[in-house]
Symmetry: C2
Subunit: 380 residues, 2 copies
């Protein structure tokens, strides 16, 4: 890799001061149809490059190294790619499974874990080389993989409901089954303080919570009437639990198949309130340093974004930024939100105070937007 970068410099002439660049305000946008990434500069509100050849990015996510130099992209086709955001090059790629669903980086930045559907299980790679360092089989599809402090990861198994906590800090992995979440867990999320691992269920009602600060975490079930029912509207898209917002002592979570946001007291795990919204929520994301959450919706109502106040639980703004809004990413201190509008081939940048559009950036069928500040957040 050093050799590659060195050759690139020799070819680039004359070398300009702009060749040194800090990484705190950079990011990547997934171009889902073309298997490529747009490199973005948040301060300049512009695209500064593109990286291609990442495979099937139709349901992709990524995570960043602690130094913000590298992004690890988890593609639906089982590909794990490592991209250098400064040289804007694909530096390593391995197709490590037939179908993968996401991944995470350990708190010390040394290990990348990927959760797989085909075959099920978790594979763990050296973050520098992408060499396989552990292959943890499972009795089915693994979902909801997150990093846990102390070079650990947690995940759940769709087919069995089992939840695992894997410790990779010693010479051999230490994998413990910490309980059964329930029937067909479909996604899971870790709170921003790495305290509570929340597992959503598809096969039955309710949510399972594990207190990962305990020496022996065990499942607590809550929201027993939460989930899919036959009386509901058809579920156009399963909501992302990554979209659970943690705001003002509450969780805001998407009702499955309903046009509602549910508010849960973080301490008591009881329902506080429900907010009627425009459609079936997909992502509910907290605007940093504010009382607000922003919500986007499943097709066919995905041209709209709503802003809800976590104090009153009222919708305070309804925007129609573009066609097929797939994702939203906030500047880490909350001044802006970047919104991907897939069918407009645009990323739209909104001021969060005026809620007016500030700028647009071209991107081909954009989906996920990922700023490098994620490198510093547990569970992302």
């Amino acid at each position: 890799m050093k050799t590659v970068a060195f050759i690139m410099f020799l070819l680039a002439s004359p070398l300009m001061a702009d060749d040194i660049r800090s990484t705190g305000d950079l990011g990547l946008v997934i171009e889902r149809a073309s298997g490529s990434l747009v490199v973005i500069d948040r301060s300049e509100r512009t695209a500064i490059g593109r990286v291609e050849g990442l495979g099937d990015l139709s349901h992709a996510s990524m995570t960043y190294s602690p130094d913000e130099r590298f992004a690890y992209i988890f593609a639906r086709d089982g590909g794990l790619s490592k991209v250098d955001i400064l040289t804007q090059t694909l530096v390593a790629r391995t197709v490590q499974a037939g179908n993968s669903i996401g991944g995470a980086i350990s708190d010390d930045g040394r290990l990348i874990a990927v959760s797989n559907y085909e075959p099920g299980g978790v594979k763990v790679f050296d973050a520098d080389t992408l060499d396989l360092v552990a292959d943890i089989p499972a009795a089915g599809k693994t979902i909801g993989l997150v990093d846990v402090p102390g070079r650990r990861f947690a995940w759940a198994v769709w087919d069995t409901g089992e939840v695992f906590l894997g410790d990779f800090s010693g010479p051999e992995p230490d994998i413990k089954m910490i309980g059964n979440a329930g029937k067909n867990p479909y996604d899971a999320v870790l709170t921003d303080d790495a305290h509570t691992y929340l597992v959503g269920l598809f096969g039955e009602k309710g949510v399972a919570a594990f207190d990962l600060w305990e020496d022996a975490p065990k499942p607590t079930r809550f929201l027993q009437d939460y989930g899919k029912t036959s009386e509901d509207l058809p579920v156009y898209k399963m909501p992302h639990l990554q979209g659970w917002a943690f705001s003002s002592g509450q969780f805001a979570l998407p009702a499955v198949g309903q046009h509602e946001v549910l508010w849960v007291n973080r301490d008591t795990l009881t329902e506080n309130a429900r907010t009627a919204v425009h459609g079936q929520p997909v992502f509910i994301i907290a605007q940093p340093a504010s009382p607000y959450v922003w919500v986007n919706f499943a097709t066919p109502l995905n041209d709209t974004v709503q802003v809800v106040d976590s104090r009153s639980h009222q919708v305070v703004a309804t925007l129609t930024p573009g066609k097929a809004v797939l994702h939203m990413e906030f500047a880490p201190r909350g001044a802006e939100v970047w919104i991907s509008s897939r069918d407009d081939n645009r990323v739209l940048i909104y001021d969060t105070k005026s809620r007016e559009k500030l700028a647009e950036i071209e991107a081909a069928s954009p989906s996920g937007i990922f700023f490098t500040a994620r490198a510093h957040q547990p569970g992302l």
Copy 2:
């Protein structure tokens, strides 16, 4: 500045791949006696350079630009310095007052505000050029300056107890007095969600809280028995309110003049518990993604650091890392803590899981340690 960087490149030959460097894992350590900064690489656990000529850093703090390229250093002698962490150069410096106490950067990275003792007041500078853009007088020394979302800042006045909220998003500054905190506010802090501005008092007992999510914030007093009393031990050093930790729905705050940590319920502002500790707390800092806070102490008991569990409120570890421990900074996801030991001329790096020392870095009389990840946190 571009010219400066360009000349540096022409002089450096041959250009190595290492000349491009991401900034997510960099940081600066204040060398208080020599007016210099050590540039540190968190991943490599090493010093990678030094920047000199920053004036009197005996009580200095700093903040980072959103792109992590620049640090703004607030020195006790009234100097405001701008340092390029990539080229490791001092790019601008202005002595803007006779005695300053700290500063902040606006949420969009455009403005730097400095709170001054001599003369009192707040000066606001363009973050690019350090040109003065606003000069807000005050009836005394200003303290506790913090950034508030929406290109705003909050501060308090020692002499009068007045608290101000300044909005710099329009063509002219809009400065509002939002209430009186009480007698002689000595420091203030904003919670990590930018919700509550907490003001500590020296002239009377109690703490004032302002809800900055309200349209018209007003003071609420709590902990009416909190503060300095004549019966107390001598106060060797006023604790830093920046050291207030926000963990598990609680604030952990240093008792003034007492060997105690106080725990306050974040919602009700009532006292939960007290923890007897080794000395008078100076900084109480939450270990990210954990139930723990780490505490250091005022002279003469400043060779010790204690770890307290926010659930049980018990001391769970007592370390003696070195002589004159002045500051602690956590890796943003919590795996390591970096501790400055002034009289050992060392920064000590501890693993937070094993609580064992991993490495040491030489630094002359080190005090504050600041990682670039602070660029992404409101109120820092």
